[in-house]
């Protein structure tokens, strides 16, 4: 790490979806940017274990407390990080995922890129719960088009309610579905449930230096051909190429400094390699450290003028914490046993998915839950490993029959994952723990998290409908059938879509940011990550983080040019 030149206008904190987008948009517009990343430098071109087999890694590459989703996941960190604890209040449980590396979680995310729709930006107007966004879908649509085109998203325009079509020529061709996806689609369609092409940020045609997906190796490892979008093979190198971006890694920001006029003057960070505390000044500060880390930095930025933390006159920093509602159901399908083998890797993720379909009955008050969900489906001839996709647990005894049975059951399993909208509630928030600090001396977060009937009833609807699909295929559930909905729901943070902790709104009394992502209290402080979300639609947040950051940058650049900031 070299010392920053000091020749910057804007500090961007974080290098993932929001930070990457902010850095590229600003640098491209001629703004000098200094990016501070708490993790280490990371180069997917030299560090991605493309084509490594599971057997080449310890424990066949399976998960451990240090690598929650397996040895090869491109994540340095996870639900725990050495020296950086967090806690949940008694009777609560929240799991906070952090990836301490350049590019953050964009290096390993599932690349699912579902577009928020008109209902999603006006949830309060639709059902009287939560909060509306200060922007509408119509205002956001051009940004979604722009971001989808920029990062490359495959999918199809199916004209479904609240699942907007993309502009002409925006989407890449979706990959052909696999057998189990087709079987699920046939059964779902028969029951009146749609099942359509998924949308993922994976190229299926070449784009500049980034190559089309060659249908192999898990996207979670990162992608050294640039097919699966991550900021480290796109936004960050593009921003660097402008000559306007400097990057400081191992720089953990913990406080935004403000002056008497109420403006941000710069940030305090710890150089993790030397342990030194440093201050660096800037004209503008952009927070994109991830929803909870950005909230933590604001809450830690206490001074006489801001006793509850900078930009927190509304008291909403850390509040409105939401994560996607998640639950899973799985089944074994006898009719799919011994099916003909072929290469099912494809793009390694969803080719088809089930979008929420019950909006009409929901609007008519015929459902006992107000918000939708989508279902991520699957079941493939995956790389053999522990569990064999479920086959290992179907065998009995020992002897020649064991091999025969594993061969027979391999590829005969299907699974469904609910990804649902959660409504913000007063029991879900992050605050500073009054006593504990991390190894760097920074006060840590304490989480509070409770689901309500809205989420529980939604899970019940998911469970019931998926069991009907399984039944239609003559299958036997292997998990998720006998659990009470409340007991099968993922813990807060477990789906890794946490958002809402510095929400945008129309009213400074109830929101932290205005519609541009600019702090109501501190005009040269902007937030461009999931913290800005006013609601948590069932759609995976990354695409929206980037579209919002793109839009925020338009406004920020305009204000900087007009010398308003």
């Amino acid at each position: 790490m070299t010392a920053p030149s000091g020749d910057h206008d804007v500090i961007v904190i974080g290098s993932g979806a929001g930070g990457g987008m902010a850095a590229w948009r600003l640098a491209d517009a001629g703004v000098k940017v200094l990016m501070l990343e708490a993790g280490r430098d990371y180069d997917p071109y030299t560090e991605t274990p493309m084509f490594n087999w599971g057997r080449e890694a310890p424990l066949l590459g399976g998960g451990t407390p240090e690598k929650n989703f397996g040895y090869y996941l491109a994540s340095i960190g996870g639900w725990t990080l050495p020296g950086e604890p967090y806690v949940s209040a008694e009777g609560n449980e929240f799991m906070w995922w952090r990836s301490r590396m350049l590019g953050g979680r964009t290096n390993h995310w599932a690349r699912n890129s579902f577009r928020m729709g008109p209902h999603d930006f006006r949830p309060y107007s639709r059902d009287g719960l939560g909060a509306d966004w200060p922007v509408s879908y119509d205002e956001m649509a051009p940004y979604f088009d722009r971001v989808e085109k920029l990062i490359g998203v495959y999918g199809a325009n199916d004209g479904l309610e609240n699942h907007p079509d993309s502009g002409p020529g925006v989407l890449h061709e979706p990959p052909k579905p696999r057998i189990n996806e087709l079987a699920i689609k046939a059964a779902a369609n028969d029951l009146g449930i749609p099942c359509v092409a998924s949308r993922r940020a994976v190229l299926t045609k070449n784009m500049g230096d980034r190559q089309a997906c060659f249908n192999a190796t898990n996207c979670g490892r990162g992608c050294n051909i640039g097919a699966a979008f991550q900021s480290t093979t796109s936004l960050i190198p593009w921003a660097r190429a402008t000559g306007n971006l400097e990057i400081l890694t191992n720089a953990m920001v913990y406080e935004v400094e403000t002056d008497r006029s109420g403006k941000a003057t710069g940030v305090h960070y710890i150089d993790k390699t030397s342990g030194e505390h440093k201050f660096i000044a800037a004209r503008v500060v952009v927070l994109a450290a991830s929803a909870c880390e950005s909230a933590r930095i604001l809450l830690n930025s206490k001074n006489a003028q801001h006793p509850d933390g900078v930009s927190n006159s509304s008291g909403q920093v850390g509040r409105n914490l939401m994560d996607t509602v998640g639950a899973s159901v799985g089944a074994q399908i006898p009719a799919l046993e011994n099916r003909p083998r072929y290469n099912e890797d494809g793009t390694m993720g969803l080719h088809l998915y089930i979008p929420f379909w019950d909006y009409q009955r929901q609007a008519a008050g015929q459902l006992d839950f107000p918000r939708g969900y989508h279902v991520e489906i699957g079941g493939t001839f995956g790389e053999p490993g522990i569990g064999m996709g479920g086959a290992s647990w179907q065998v009995d005894g020992y002897g020649p029959q064991v091999k025969e049975d594993v061969r027979r059951y391999y590829g005969s399993f299907i699974h469904f994952s609910q990804r649902g909208e959660m409504i913000p509630n007063e029991n879900c928030y992050a605050e500073l723990d009054p006593e504990q600090v991390d190894d760097y001396g920074i006060p840590i977060l304490r989480f509070h998290y409770r689901h309500t009937e809205h989420e529980i009833n939604q899970t019940a609807h998911f469970q019931q409908n998926m069991l009907e699909i399984i039944d239609r295929l003559g299958g036997t559930p292997t998990y998720g059938a006998d659990s009470a909905p409340r007991d099968m729901m993922a813990k807060g943070g477990q789906i890794i879509h946490e958002v809402g902790t510095a929400r945008m709104g129309d009213d400074p009394a109830t929101s932290v940011l205005n519609a541009s992502g600019q702090s109501w209290d501190v005009p040269n402080l902007w937030v461009m990550d999931g913290a800005a979300f006013a609601s948590k639609a069932h759609k995976n947040p990354t695409l929206t983080i980037m579209a919002l950051a793109d839009r925020s940058c338009d406004h920020l650049i305009e204000k900087m040019r007009a010398r308003e900031i």
């Binding site: 799919l336 083998r341 072929y342 065998v395």
Partner: protein, 242 residues
Amino acid sequence: MSYTQKISRRTTLKWLAGTMGVAATAACGPEHTSPEQDYAERMAKRKTLTPAQPVSGTTYGYDPAQIEPVLTWEKTMSQDQLNVAARLSDLILPADDRSPAASAVGVPDFIDEWVSAPYENQQYDRERFFALFDWLEVEAQKRFDTGFAEASDDQQKQILDQIAWQGRVGEGLGDMAASFRSFRNIAIGAFFASEAGVEDIGYLGNKPVIGPYPGPSPEAIEHLRGVLTSMGLEMPEARYLP
């Protein structure tokens, strides 16, 4: 008046040892075998499995080498334990016309790697697997006067039959049956993850397919068509098919 001990403890032990020595010498005479003696002789011949080395090394950390992974802990199983693990793996996954037996592709080594890993889950399996190995050994000695690894196929199967089959688990052997299932699960995974196992199961991925993903093969589509027809389901529209 109370009795005062006259013999020191050291003397008592010597005396007892002397008596036993005499008795043992007498019992060694060829003419004087007894059931107790038979038992003692059999017991003397019995061995127990040499225990494993203690776990050593470290976990691989939060940022392990990705391109060329390294094992950061030592394997710890004794030769005796490896012998039992090998027999057990091969009983579960014997050679057939499609692939070799589990031990031929190194499944016991993987078991060793697994139980030697300094992670909580693996340490839990370590205790259970070692208890399973010891139980198999004790059973073999008790029933057949031989070690499990050295017993005949038939003898090994008689022992395994007490714990291996659902609904036919011997009384009080529930824990052993559960440990066996876990062992079998790991052995199956390790076997099919090997090169020979991948070929056996017919996994055809992990190789680049340039150009659009072609989707299922004609045979796979025909098979699906049959499946859906039998269920009265319609095949998805043409645009979803290859």
